[in-house]
Amino acid sequence: MHVRAIAGDDEAFLAVMQLHKQSLLRTALAFLRNEDDAIEALQEVTYRAYKKVRTVKEPSYLKTWLIRIMINYCQDQLKLRKRYTVDDSGLETVSAEDISYIELRDALATLSDEEQRLIYLKYFQDSKIKDIAQSENIPESTVKSRLYKTMRTLRSYFEDKGGSDHV
């Protein structure tokens, strides 16, 4: 089926989108944290993917490739959002568990776009290092060393926050 999608077959493309729509939606929600925006993102990503689908080299990387387009789109949206709106999430009442998530998400937001992508693909999509390497167009060893470095950055982020984490 994936092979046909790369050849530009509409039906097969639709089937591929169906197959990966849950992963794509979850990706959009993880980054944008809002259902309406996630739906809009899915539409945009479908559009972009359909236009470019003939440029994927390996069918088996199609999922990672789609997720990557989604992440790029979301990261661009977040940058636009930062410019124009104020984050008011702090006003909601939240549980202790939620605070832990919010902290982690804040920590993730400090990472570079590329680091965010790597972390997301590895830990949230359970993508294989090999697939990530292909999709990022870098060697597998580089994926590993960048992931390692990113984990170190995350740790130092929490360590810097120190006591405030554990009240």
Binding site: K21, Y47, R152
Partner: protein
Amino acid sequence: MYETEEARLKQLKEHLDQQSLPLSEADQAICRGMERACREKKQARKRRKRIFGSVAVVALLLLTFITSIRVSPVFAQAVASIPGLEKFVELIAMDKGLDAVIQNDYYQEIGVTQTIDDKTLTVDGVILDETGINIFYTIESKRSLKGLQVDYINLKAEGIPEGSFSYGNIMGEKEVYTYKDRIDYQFGELYTSEKPSFDLKIAIKLQGEPTLFTVPFTVPGQVKPSEVYTIDKEVDIEGQKFTIEKVTVSPLRVGVKISIDPANTMKILQFEDIRLEDEKGEVWGAIQNGTTAFGREDGNSTLFLQSNYFSKPKKLYLRINKVQALKAEEAFAEVNTETGEWLNQPKDQKIQLLQSNKHHAEFIMKNVDEVEFPFFFLGSAIDAKGVEVEIPTTGKYGDEEATHWDLNFDRTDYTNPLRLELFAYPNYLEGDIKIELK
């Protein structure tokens, strides 16, 4: 090592996975996205097909097609003073050397014609020097010449060395009654003759009907001798060495003979910005329309630049700032056209194989800053048994995102994988080479 962080990430993932998803809205979003893309693709496809059609023809005829042409007033005046030349302006205006040839009255009128049935071919004039001959000719008819095709061209003269041709003009969609073209025949080595007489054969096809014109002509004027600068200077760019052997300045072109050090760790591909510069900073660059280089297997090649023969500057420098190069082991692509598998290619993987079978392969390279890579990047193809597979037609076209190359192989009984020599690639070495010629 980072178990705590990994555990936190895993927890967040599980939390996110529990979120319910708006699936039916998602289906609608996918449909809307696809509809929009389909609509645009249909429009784009129409546009691209047209471009491809014409560009493929250009490639076959070894001609660069430029739609808008700017001509300096001085040049326009010089052209106007020579009867019959004004119709060729667009065929010579892209070359400073040709521009100077006209202004210095080195173009020679010939005016020999042959009429076959309702078609008349006229050799209007020529520019002849030791490196080659440019022949300007016209075909006229009372019948429309729309769709005229030049099948082959043959030029004979006593002792004429083998050389390379470039010719062909673009026919529009309109009904036309005049076809004009410039044949650029470049001799493989310098050639002079006391009284040069040529025999030109031009075979054309119009609506499937062939016509063969045979036009003998003699060039009356003296051939201007070339000026040769022997340099023999080894230079290097990021450690890769080559020698500028000599520079030959002739009216039609300047040839720069270069030999490349076989001990180099990288293969030097194209000298993109090689140019002549005079003391005032005026620049003569590569040939835009015609043969750009003669290459040889042993690493020697001659590159051709637009001529400054008539400009007589006080000082003249040859300058190079960047060359395309690849590590020797990356300078070829090895690909299985049946499985679409790459066995070797440059590590940065800028070129991708879009689709392939034994007849045909389509390669693609993403544009950098929306600029197309202007070269054909592949030379010859050798199959797994070491036998050459000819690529008789290649097409290059582009859209806003990428440059595409289409190759058609002349046979399908070859053994995969195919080894394709790369002779252009967007990987650069930079330096500042400046050699004083005079």
